[in-house]
Symmetry: C2
Subunit: 141 residues, 2 copies
C-alpha cells in the first residue's frame, strides 16, 4: 500500500506559513535553499508524512510560476510506492500521462516521477520509491 510521503505547499512567506503549523504542534526545520529548483523549503514532520512549505527564490521557477498563477496552495502530493519501476510500467500500460518519460534521479539518489496533473484530476502527484524520502531537491511543476 502506498503512503503519503509529503505534501508540497507553495507559500509567499515561509516563516509566516510555518507559524500556523507550529501552532498546531508541528516543529519546523530550518529553511533550506535548493538553488537548482529556485525554492527555499521548510519541512514539517507529520507522523509518517511531512508538509514541505516551498517559497520561490526566483519568479520563473516552477513554484514561482505556480504562486503567480494560483497565489499559493497545494503544489504536489508525493506518494511513496514499493516498486516504482513496476508502478510506472502499469501506469504506462493504462495510458496514464507522466511529466517525464523516464524515472528521474534526484540529488540524494532517490528515484521519482511526476504524473501529469491531467492524469489525476488536477492534482500534481509525485511518486517516489518507498523507503526513500525526497530531500526537497527534485520539485517540478
Amino acid at each position: 500500500m502506498p503512503r503519503i510521503d509529503h505534501l508540497g505547499i507553495a507559500v509567499r512567506d515561509l516563516r509566516a506559513a510555518a507559524r500556523l503549523y507550529e501552532l498546531l504542534g508541528c516543529r519546523a526545520t530550518a529553511a533550506e535553499e535548493v538553488p537548482q529548483e529556485g525554492v527555499r523549503a521548510v519541512m514539517l514532520p507529520l507522523g509518517e508524512s511531512r508538509i514541505e512549505l516551498l517559497e520561490a527564490t526566483r519568479p520563473d521557477s516552477p513554484v514561482g510560476r505556480f504562486l503567480e498563477r494560483r497565489g499559493g496552495g497545494l503544489h504536489h502530493v508525493a506518494l511513496a510506492v514499493s516498486d516504482l519501476a513496476a508502478v510506472v510500467v502499469r501506469l504506462r500500460a493504462a495510458g496514464v500521462r507522466l511529466v517525464s518519460d523516464a524515472i528521474q534521479v534526484g540529488a540524494g539518489g532517490h528515484r521519482y516521477v511526476f504524473l501529469h496533473p491531467s492524469a489525476a484530476g488536477g492534482v500534481l502527484i509525485e511518486l517516489i520509491e518507498s523507503g526513500e524520502s525526497t530531500k526537497g531537491n527534485e520539485r517540478q511543476s
Copy 2:
C-alpha cells in the same frame, strides 16, 4: 505531533479517479453517499492516512461549487491533533481565522473545525481530534 488524517480531493468522476490510485496499489472502498453534504465519496487507505475522492451529487453543494470554480483538485487537508480544544484556543489567541466559531460535531460524533483558507495560504485545513477519524460526512468548502 499532528498527522495527516486524510486528503479530500474533488473529482468529476469517482470511479475514473479511483482507477488511477488502484494502479498505484490502493484499494478503494465502495462509494458512499453523504446526502447532507451533497457528495458521494470513495476512500483510499494510504498508510496511517487516506485519500477521500469526492464527487458532487448536486451542483450547489460545497464540492459541486468547488468543481465548477476549479475543475477538480485538492479540496481540503485534514490533520489529526491530540487536543483539539487546546489547539483552537491557541489558534484564536494568534488571530487565526476559522470557518466556524465553535468546534463542530459530525454524524459519527467526531469533533472538527475548518480553518479559513486565507489562514493557510489558500489551503483549506480541517482539524480533527486525534484518535477519531472523519467518516466522510462533515465536509464544507
